[in-house]
């Protein structure tokens, strides 16, 4: 239960950390730390505007998007704290619950009948297709190193304090971070700040959503951000930490995750759309590198 609570808590502040980092680096004060929360509060109080081409699907799909994301959050552990639900192969359910949430969002976008939404969803499915193998490669590497088949068992057993695995954990954390950036529509794959540009991916999909529907999608976005952050953090926090120390580690690492994303967004330019595919294949190659390193370590007798 603890990892779920931590995900929910961190979902509330990671976005704020990113915004503040970005503002500071640009020399601005920036908006309030909890501004995203206030925005969602305002959205929840507003009514929805539905497109004339929409049906019941647009009314239900944003809720499905949020519910499926939350369902996936149930499966994530933190170090030795087990997940709410865990079984052998639970990461398969995790991946496909996130796919369901994406499916719901893409169909909502296509229902508006606008070319912007169509463009956004076409790009979204393409990019998520390209990072999907990377996620499975990374989990496969972890399963090979630990000999376990579920998230909880893997992260409880993964020992990044030994010299060999420290290197591996850094590679995997870097790859997970890249998957996180792609999956959450952050730079350098997608830019959350550009509205009304032909260059956006995720933001183009939600153009026609409003009111509570938009709030649901945004909350799902926060959840996803901190869920992928949880995977990165799991790679980095020292093994065998327990109790309040682990919680403290988590909060620090999560804040660092937000700062890193903020740094990337301030210091890097967004890729050209046509270069994104190559970039994402490179991310998968990093995953493959992680696998190769682990394989060599294992076969050479760790």
């Amino acid at each position: 239960m603890i990892p779920l609570i931590l995900i929910l808590v961190s979902a509330l502040f990671v976005k704020g950390v990113i915004n503040k980092t970005r503002a500071r680096l640009a020399g601005r004060t920036g908006c309030r730390f909890f501004q995203p929360l206030l925005t969602v509060g305002v959205l929840l109080g507003k009514g929805e505007i539905y497109s004339t081409s929409s049906t019941w699907l647009t009314r239900v799909a944003p809720a499905v998007c949020l519910a499926a994301t939350l369902g996936a959050a149930l499966l994530l552990p933190l170090g030795i704290f087990p997940a709410v639900i865990g079984f052998d192969g639970d990461f398969i359910l995790f991946a496909y619950l996130l796919a369901l949430s994406k499916l719901a969002l893409v169909l909502t976008a296509l229902e508006s009948g606008s070319s912007f939404q169509g463009m956004g969803s076409a790009r979204e499915v393409l990019f998520s297709m390209l990072v999907e193998p990377c996620f499975f490669l990374l989990v496969g590497t972890l399963a090979m190193v630990t000999g376990c088949g579920s998230f909880s068992a893997i992260f409880a057993k993964f020992d990044n304090m030994s010299v060999n695995l420290l290197m591996l954990s850094l590679i995997l954390a870097y790859a997970f971070l890249n998957v996180a950036l792609a999956e959450n529509g952050r730079l350098p794959v997608d830019d959350t700040r550009t509205h009304l540009e032909l260059t956006m991916v995720h933001e183009a999909m939600v153009l026609d959503l409003s009111g509570a529907d938009l709030a649901f999608v945004q909350v799902a976005g926060w959840l996803k951000l901190s869920m992928w952050g949880m995977l990165v953090v799991n790679m980095l926090i020292p093994a065998r930490t327990a109790g309040w120390l682990l919680v403290a580690w988590f909060l620090v690492a999560m804040a660092a995750y937000g700062v890193v994303i903020g740094l990337i967004e301030s210091l890097m330019a967004r890729n050209r759309m046509t270069k994104n595919a190559t970039y994402l294949v490179t991310v998968s190659a990093i995953g493959l590198l992680g696998f190769a390193v682990a394989y060599v370590l294992l076969t050479s007798g760790l």
């Binding site: 929840l44 109080g45 009514g47 929805e48 505007i49 539905y50 497109s51 004339t52 081409s53 049906t55 239900v60 809720a63 499905v64 519910a67 499926a68 369902g71 639900i85 052998d88 192969g89 398969i92 359910l93 991946a95 496909y96 619950l97 796919a99 369901l100 994406k102 499916l103 893409v106 169909l107 296509l110 229902e111 508006s112 009948g113 606008s114 070319s115 169509g118 463009m119 969803s121 076409a122 998520s128 297709m129 999907e132 193998p133 499975f136 490669l137 496969g140 399963a143 090979m144 630990t146 000999g147 376990c148 153009l207 026609d208 009111g211 509570a212 046509t274 595919a277 696998f291 394989y295």
Partner: protein, 646 residues
């Protein structure tokens, strides 16, 4: 007289169709004939799997059926009932302008196709098997060429017939060389099949299953056939090829298992990615579904290959997950693909268009078809809690399990990457198939004026839904709990069915939470006194948006096409009208070309032409030469007779 005695003769009920008047009534007769067989097949299939000792007794409903055949019989039964019921509603509109004989022949072939598939899975002797196999090919050929007045249909049907007979002769050769033609119940069951025979079986059955690169008939024949026929063929008939491959894999001699397993595994992985990447760039709805079938056959082959590798390594877990996942995928795919093809058929019936660039907005106009298609597409997209997830879960679990056990690590990782890539592309394919066809605004007048199809067709489409919804719990029970009867691998340490119950609970929670969120939205709206309003889609400050400006099926995968390069997604542009002095209206159409299939057919036909050209040496066109040939032949016969050879 028991049911088992009369069952082989139920095929003859096809004759009844000839006695019935009117298209609809003929359809009903065919549907009843199929439903009778389907009930027997489903009951016999399930009892054979669950209670083998009862089913093997003298009162067996389907003599010759074993547990493995039972799995396929169940799939055939579900798809058969749904497709024949669908034909009752579909054919009266589709068969307008056809003679009674054509309609009679069509329905009779439908009945024959259904019973010949059951014949294939019950046949215990080689020649019986080949008889049913050939009957299946011929009846499906008649079904495909129902619209033979259209040139492309005729081409597709004849091409199908030719390829199936190449496959047939491969099977004939394989059966006669392997020595299993001795008959009796030992057909296929003995161990010790040699590698060349196995390869011959793989190619022969692979032609039916549409194994890459022998898939060239599949994306052509499925769009050409009427939709219930495509549903039947794609849902279950191509699975008969899989049935043969599984049988051959189980009979292969143990020392060859590893190498052949690796071959089937690699073929499956390549085919899964190839099939779905081709599917993602299609604009024709039924062609898209046909290519997606190639992907699913690839996933099944990947499973079979994994199972063979497991048997080769003597690892019960890997064999169990591989074959188990493959058989689960056979059951799940037969349900949702039949549903998808029937949904596509309803779209065609309502709009007369298969080209997705002319469709759109059909969910508003055909709500029930839209919901059923969505559910089937979700199953195809491996949404947890539906039948498509179970099989992929078992396969993934097998691959990850072999990694954690330290066996087959590199092979498994390759399989995982292929499956993950195929999964991502599936999401792309089916969001496109559904989003462009059913959502947005109509892109043509036909789509704008579409009306919901009749209740019979909707009912038929809804039938396999039972399998999709109950499947996640029922199919693992049938396949995995009885794994040793099916393919002789026993592994009960992790009951998948328990995991599936957990998954169902999670999905139930997700559904409840969704309902809660929708309720919350309604409550919030009521509390703040606002009502949802309807406005045109925001055009991003562009004031004259137009329905033609929507994303189309072609633009949706533009970037993927660029990535695959021009070779992967070649587009042929045809100018149908020629240049004239006073030009009339020009029409223009694009069509997708499958360069792989073309390369294979072109290579083979090139070789064939080269060798026949050498034989043309004897065709001189001079009568005296031909007389000489006859004389030489007579002399040869004389010499051979004198030597005692003849």
């Amino acid at each position: 007289m028991t049911i088992g005695d009369i069952f082989p003769f139920l095929t003859l009920s096809a004759v009844l169709v000839f006695a019935a008047p009117g298209t609809r009534f003929k359809g009903i007769v065919a549907a009843v004939a199929i439903a009778a067989g389907a009930v027997i097949a489903a009951v016999a299939g399930v009892t054979t799997i669950v209670f083998p000792e009862i089913a093997a007794g003298p009162g067996a409903w389907m003599p010759g059926l074993d547990a493995l055949g039972g799995v396929f019989a169940l799939a055939v039964a579900i798809a058969g009932v749904a497709c024949s019921l669908y034909a009752v509603g579909y054919m009266p509109g589709h068969a307008a302008g056809k003679s009674h004989t054509q309609v009679r022949l069509h329905f009779a072939s439908l009945v024959v196709l259904f019973y010949s598939m059951l014949g294939v899975v019950t046949a215990s002797a080689a020649y019986g098997f080949l008889f049913w196999w050939e009957l299946m090919t011929l009846s499906s050929f008649v079904l495909v060429m129902f619209d033979a007045q259209r040139k492309e249909v005729l081409h597709a049907a004849v091409g199908y017939l030719v390829l199936m007979h190449i496959g047939f002769f491969m099977l004939l050769g394989a059966f006669s060389t392997s020595g299993v033609s001795a008959g009796g119940c030992s057909f296929f069951t003995g161990e010790g099949m040699t590698v060349p025979v196995f390869l011959l079986f793989l190619a022969g059955f692979g032609l039916k299953a549409g194994i890459f690169p022998l898939h060239m008939w599949l994306p052509v024949a499925h769009p050409a056939a009427p939709s219930h026929v495509s549903a039947m063929m794609s849902g279950v008939m191509i699975k008969m090829g899989i049935y043969g491959i599984v049988r051959a894999a189980l009979a292969l001699r143990p020392e060859a298992l590893f190498a052949m397993g690796l071959l089937v595994f690699a073929l499956g992985a390549a085919m899964a990615v190839f099939g779905i990447a081709r599917a993602a760039v299609q604009t024709d709805l039924k062609r898209l579904l046909a290519y997606s079938s190639i992907e699913n056959i690839g996933i099944i082959c990947l499973g079979i290959g994994l199972g063979m590798l497991g048997r080769g390594l003597d690892s019960d877990f890997i064999a169990y997950a591989g074959f188990g996942g493959a058989l689960l995928h056979v059951l799940g795919h037969s349900n949702y693909k039949a549903m998808l093809f029937m949904g596509a058929g309803s779209v065609v019936a309502a709009t007369r268009h298969r080209d997705m660039n002319r469709l759109g907005g059909l969910l508003r106009r055909m709500p029930v078809t839209g919901i059923l298609f969505l559910l089937a597409a979700m199953a195809a997209c491996v949404v947890p809690g539906l039948a498509g997830f179970t099989s992929e879960f078992v396969l993934f679990d097998g691959l990850f399990g072999s990694i954690t056990r330290g066996e087959l690590t590199v092979v498994s990782v390759a399989g995982i990457v292929a499956l993950a890539l195929a999964g991502g592309l599936t999401l792309m394919t089916f969001t496109k198939a559904y989003g462009i066809t059913f959502l947005g605004n109509p892109r043509s007048c036909a789509a704008r004026d579409a009306k919901e199809v009749g209740i019979v067709m909707l009912l038929a489409q809804a039938l396999p839904l039972a399998g999709i919804l109950v499947g996640p719990l029922l199919y693992p029970y049938l396949v995995l709990e009885n794994a040793d009867a099916l393919f002789g691998a026993r592994y009960y340490a992790q009951p998948v069915i328990g995991t599936m119950v957990t998954v169902e609970l999670v999905m139930g929670g997700v559904a409840l939470f969704t309902a809660g969120l929708v309720g919350l939205k309604v409550w919030l709206n009521r509390r703040s006194g606002v009502a949802a309003v309807r406005r045109p889609t925001w055009g991003c400050a562009f004031t004259a948006p137009n329905k033609r400006m929507q994303y189309t099926a072609s633009s949706y995968n533009r970037e993927l096409q660029t990535m695959l390069g021009e070779r992967g997604a070649e587009r042929q542009v045809r100018e149908l009208a020629e240049e004239e002095i006073f030009p009339k209206g020009h029409t223009f159409s694009t069509e997708e070309r499958d360069s792989t299939a073309r390369a294979v057919t072109r290579w083979i036909s090139h070789q064939l032409r080269r060798w026949t050209a050498r034989l043309a040496l004897f065709q001189t066109g001079k009568t005296n030469h031909y007389v000489l040939h006859a004389l030489l032949l007579l002399g040869l016969v004389l010499v051979l007779t004198l030597c005692g050879v003849l």
